[in-house]
Amino acid sequence: MPLGPLPAAVPPSWYLTLSAILFALGVLGFLLRRNIITVFMSIELMLNAVNLSFVTFSYVLKRNDGHIFSFFVMVVAAAEAAVGLAIILTVFKNRQTLEIDEVSSLKN
């Protein structure tokens, strides 16, 4: 990336780099956090980062297929959030905890 005075417009690669930064932050939160809801939100952050890549490539190729893909990602994320939060509710009702380390009965 060239340093110095800010250009009038940024190249698409800056958008993709921002997407990579957000994805890396999502991975970091997913691996580091112990609260199941925060882990779930980190997944949403990764999905958002990928959506930004889709829309950027759509701009580069001058086609709107990337917009359709990110639309489908949004729809699937909505379905995933509904089911995932229902699972979290059930887990909390059964175990009274949100710590993912304490919900490890599959390992024992």
Binding site: M1, L6, P7, A8, V10, P11, P12, S13, W14, Y15, L16, T17, L18, A20, I21, L22, A24, L25, V27, L28, L31, L32, R33, N35, I37, T38, M41, E44, N48, N51, L52, V55, S58, Y59, V60, R63, N64, D65, H67, I68, S70, F71, F72, M74, V75, A77, A78, A79, E80, A81, A82, V83, A86, I88, L89, T90, F92, K93, L98, E99
Partner: protein
């Protein structure tokens, strides 16, 4: 002007993203995620995605995050006790994450070395008309299958949430 807007919203997105990872209370993380989504909606507008920007605000920042905040309130989720970072993760994981990110950034710069800069209004295909035309011609089958997926998800969520505790 475009570069300035990109910088502002990219900075908001990155700061909110970092805040999401470091905050210990889930409600702070949820509000940070709303900030990321709002900033990304502005970036979608810059890239010519009018419909996607609106859908991002309505579906993501509106519906999905309300669901998250509702569950956090319902479960009365408190502050996380302690972030357990094992030494292996601290001294091996962080460099690997940086290397992973650096490789992605390098590949991006190699793939798109000298493409023309992003100018607002240069791409007009992302309007509601353009998206709708694609959605109901080329992508008609995936669109219809999606409705079945959402129906199944709703049924699954209801079945899971009303299951009695034994």
């Amino acid at each position: 002007m475009d570069a300035l807007l990109f910088m502002i919203f990219a900075a908001i997105a990155v700061i909110c993203g970092i805040n999401l990872v470091v905050q210990t209370h889930p409600i702070s993380s949820a509000l940070s995620l709303v900030g990321v989504m709002g900033a990304l909606a502005a970036l979608y507008l810059l890239l010519g995605g009018e419909f996607i920007a609106a859908a991002q605000l309505v579906v993501y920042a509106g519906a999905i995050m309300v669901l998250f905040v509702f569950v956090i309130m319902l479960l009365n989720a408190g502050t996380e006790k302690k972030m357990v970072v094992r030494p292996l993760g601290k001294y091996l994981g962080a460099p690997f994450l940086l290397i992973f990110f650096g490789m992605i950034a390098y590949m991006i710069q190699r793939i798109l070395p000298a493409s023309s800069p992003v100018v607002f209004g240069a791409f007009q295909g992302g309007t509601a008309e353009g998206i709708g035309r694609s959605l109901f011609t080329v992508y008609l089958l995936p669109f219809e299958v999606t409705s079945v997926l959402i129906l199944i998800a709703i049924l699954g969520a209801i079945v899971l949430a009303r299951k009695e505790v034994d």
